[in-house]
Amino acid sequence: MTGTFNTVIQLIYLAAASCFVLGLHLMNNPATARRGNQVSVAGMVAAIVATIVLVIHLGMITATGWAVIVAGILIGGGLGLYTARTVKMTAMPQLVSVFNAVGGGAAALVAIRDYSDLGSHVAAATSITTLLDVIIGSVTFSGSIIAAGKLQGLITSAPVTFPGARIVNLALAAVAVGVGSYSIASPGLIDLGVVIAVSLIFGVSMVMPIGGADMPVVISLLNAFTGTAVAMAGFVINNTGLIIAGALVGASGGILTKLMADAMNRSIGNIMLGGFGSGDAAAAIAGPAGAGVQSIAADDAAIQLAYASKVIIVPGYGLAAAQAQHEVAALADLLESRGVDVSYAIHPVAGRMPGHMNVLLAEANVPYPLLKEMDEINPEFARTDVALVIGANDVTNPAARRPGTAISGMPILDVDAAKSIIVIKRSMGHGYAGIDNELYTNPKTSMFFADAKKGLAELAASVKTLVG
């Protein structure tokens, strides 16, 4: 009977895991992505219900245990529901980071609970996964909190570093692994405490030296870490569902991290060791005037846009920071109503995460077929009358085509091929690579110095009044 029961539970876990895989697969296409999420939810509900049935069947749980489960689900679930419903779409990356932090924390706690019960009778193989779970889970927890803090602006987004920081990090990692290995031989609570403390500190010291502009890559990496920690937790409590789901997420986070790093032409190692600074800090330094730069007033820019037959909008981080997605959509609608062909060029790392720009524009009701990926849109710039660049910098810099610059080899949008270019930007400040953008001094380029939100609203107003 117990054998049959276990088989049924395992089969439900298998079905849940299949739902997760199918759900991710359906996310290949925007048209089926919602169904993918629903399939994934169904799998999750099945897995959780199966676990509760399993717990009842085992008959070990106390009344206090039930109270703990119910209270935990109500409080945690309620908090998750509330924050997920109320968060602004521009603040979404940091919320994902917070959810990632608590997931990692939960995985670590599963192992900590198991470890605190360890006797010397536990097989070494189990202890290794327990230890890995504690270390990875704790690093993810503190690291993700710091990453969220940096994105939210609670912690300076500039790289925080000091001489010898890398050596300190290496030492911390060595201590965690060393003490951990020792504790496998003879488990003790003090060792556990040291491993947890050192891992938490390592999470902080790993993320602090990384600039705000690189934070999406870090969050993606930490997402992969959490997946791995959850898989380890699956080993610890011998639960197939956790192992499969955790491994799936570990792989997905790894792939995403690599895609993002590739798009910036940087290695993951380079980013993790703290590369060239943060765009947030650099942008404020330079003033709004420079040699060979032409500025343009809202009315002139509006006329160019209104009489163009093809306009490509190039949104960047500045649009996300100014939360100007609704204004850009309004301007695009206005131009479309005049018969202008409008599309959007989305660089793979535009915004704060790959695909973040798509989400922001989707929020403003921009239909996704208008959003073009880099390879698709690049040949179209030559046939474009006006390229409207909004708060995008390094991803448009022609310097990337020459060797010897900080961004050499980075794939860019061929904005300079357009017949004329209007750049909306607050100042001549640098992007996160910290170099001048040669696009801005191109004779075809006019700079419209304004905050993205206000600038776009002005443009829309001018289009209406001038050519209404």
Binding site: G80, F99, A251, L256, D333
Partner: protein
């Protein structure tokens, strides 16, 4: 048993690589959020340790684990759903856009491939 678990782990990694490398950049942020919700399955782990807890420390650890995991899984799925709900093929008139005539929409449904 451990070997079986390990085999499952490695094969799942490969499935993850294969399934995810095919997702277009458009959906990377929702995908990250969806993957983030999936590791909320650690809630099952929290429930198991709550069931086997037998002292105050065990209950406290289990409570925090369950609460953390529940926040991860519920919040993760809801925020992913919110993002995906916004992906539309053709927009309804943008009600939140200021000073726009709703009838101005829909004049151009072409995908921008024409010159």
């Amino acid at each position: 048993m451990l070997l079986t678990d390990f085999i499952i782990f490695v094969l799942s990694l490969w499935v993850g690589f294969e399934v995810i490398s095919k997702v277009p950049a458009t959906l990377h942020t929702p995908l990250m959020s969806a993957a983030n919700s999936i590791h909320g399955i650690v809630l099952a782990g929290g429930i198991v340790i709550a069931a086997t807890a037998h002292n105050v420390v065990g209950y406290i650890l289990a409570f925090v684990a369950v609460a953390f995991a529940a926040m991860n899984v519920v919040g993760g799925y809801v925020v992913t759903g919110r993002m995906l709900k916004m992906f539309k093929r053709r927009a309804v008139p943008a009600s939140q856009a200021p000073a726009i005539d709703p009838s101005s929409n829909g004049s151009s449904s072409k995908a921008g491939a024409s010159a």
